[in-house]
Symmetry: C2
Subunit: 182 residues, 2 copies
Amino acid sequence: MSLEYGILGLINYGKMSGYDISKAFDSSLKFFWHAQTSHIYLELKKLEKKGYITGTLVQQNDRPNKKLFGITDEGRKAFMEWLAQGAGAESVQFKSAFMMRVFFAGNLSPEQTVGMLKEFRQNCVDFLNKTSEIPESINHYGANKETIHPFYWQMTAEFGYGIVRYCADWAESCIKRLEGLP
Amino acid sequence: MSLEYGILGLINYGKMSGYDISKAFDSSLKFFWHAQTSHIYLELKKLEKKGYITGTLVQQNDRPNKKLFGITDEGRKAFMEWLAQGAGAESVQFKSAFMMRVFFAGNLSPEQTVGMLKEFRQNCVDFLNKTSEIPESINHYGANKETIHPFYWQMTAEFGYGIVRYCADWAESCIKRLEGLP
DNA sequence: CGGGCCATGTAACGGGTTACATGATTAC
DNA sequence: GTAATCATGTAACCCGTTACATGGCCCG
């Protein structure tokens, strides 16, 4: 559902290939959605079938040929309808397989649990370090920099950042409490 | 994957019916995983087929009959293997359909976006108010209160709380910034 | 007699993941 | 020559959602 509209929204900014979309997800949209390349191509096919986008082959000499997709009026309409739906009650729910493990960590030794939490914290720190250059990369996608769009891109990036920072802090606090136990 | 092991982990604490499991998810596990009742019953059937749990019918006079599930040695082994797998690199990734909408909110009017953000913030606040009684409810599930288990239950509840609080604060900040625009 | 809690399911669908599969071009 | 980047896909599977379906008991 969301991937479909994420792709549609990107193409709405301007013509894009599957590869471009994949790159966009790996940079600016990764803060709240991870998309597999293969999945993107599947969705592109579906969107084309629906008549929401149209693809045209582009010959390239210096690089492999590619297929550029543009949005149709129908596609734009569908996108705007999706966008106007608002937050919805389910917007608060989120899922974490890792937290499921922590919940049952009483079945492990404290050492094992601390190890798991440290691994998690490290993943968070790595993520934060790896992606300290959002503001730059975020402005590479989309054509109209003069509009309000980058403001919202920034908002979501901030959100993602904050969440991961919170995760790292939480893990840190857990580790300390566990190591402080008798 | 995770629901399967979540159910297994609960049954590992002691015999449970599908209804009991559903209640447990609606209280303590809701902070990081939402499970539909129908899905739980499907998973229970699968787990029984795999030989990880065994169900026995219990006649009740004052209430409808129920089926109590207990874990098998094989089930416990599978559960422990899953638990020992650690955090995994994917543990940082998370998905939010709502953030996808915010990302593209530049296509809406600022008023519409503010409305959406306020709805989101309200959902968060409602969630926090509705669930201020975790510490109590968390101790109702599981038999061995003397162990370290409640410590981890509390950790995950804290995590979920913190995330939702962070969401509310983030939304608040966005709203203020939007309303402060010329 | 209606609302809430207890209690258990089936069928169809869809979104997403995993694994597999290929190949051109550029820069070092 | 080999690694990185550009570029596009298929097939099988599985996890999860939505919608549907039922029914007893208790309390006010």
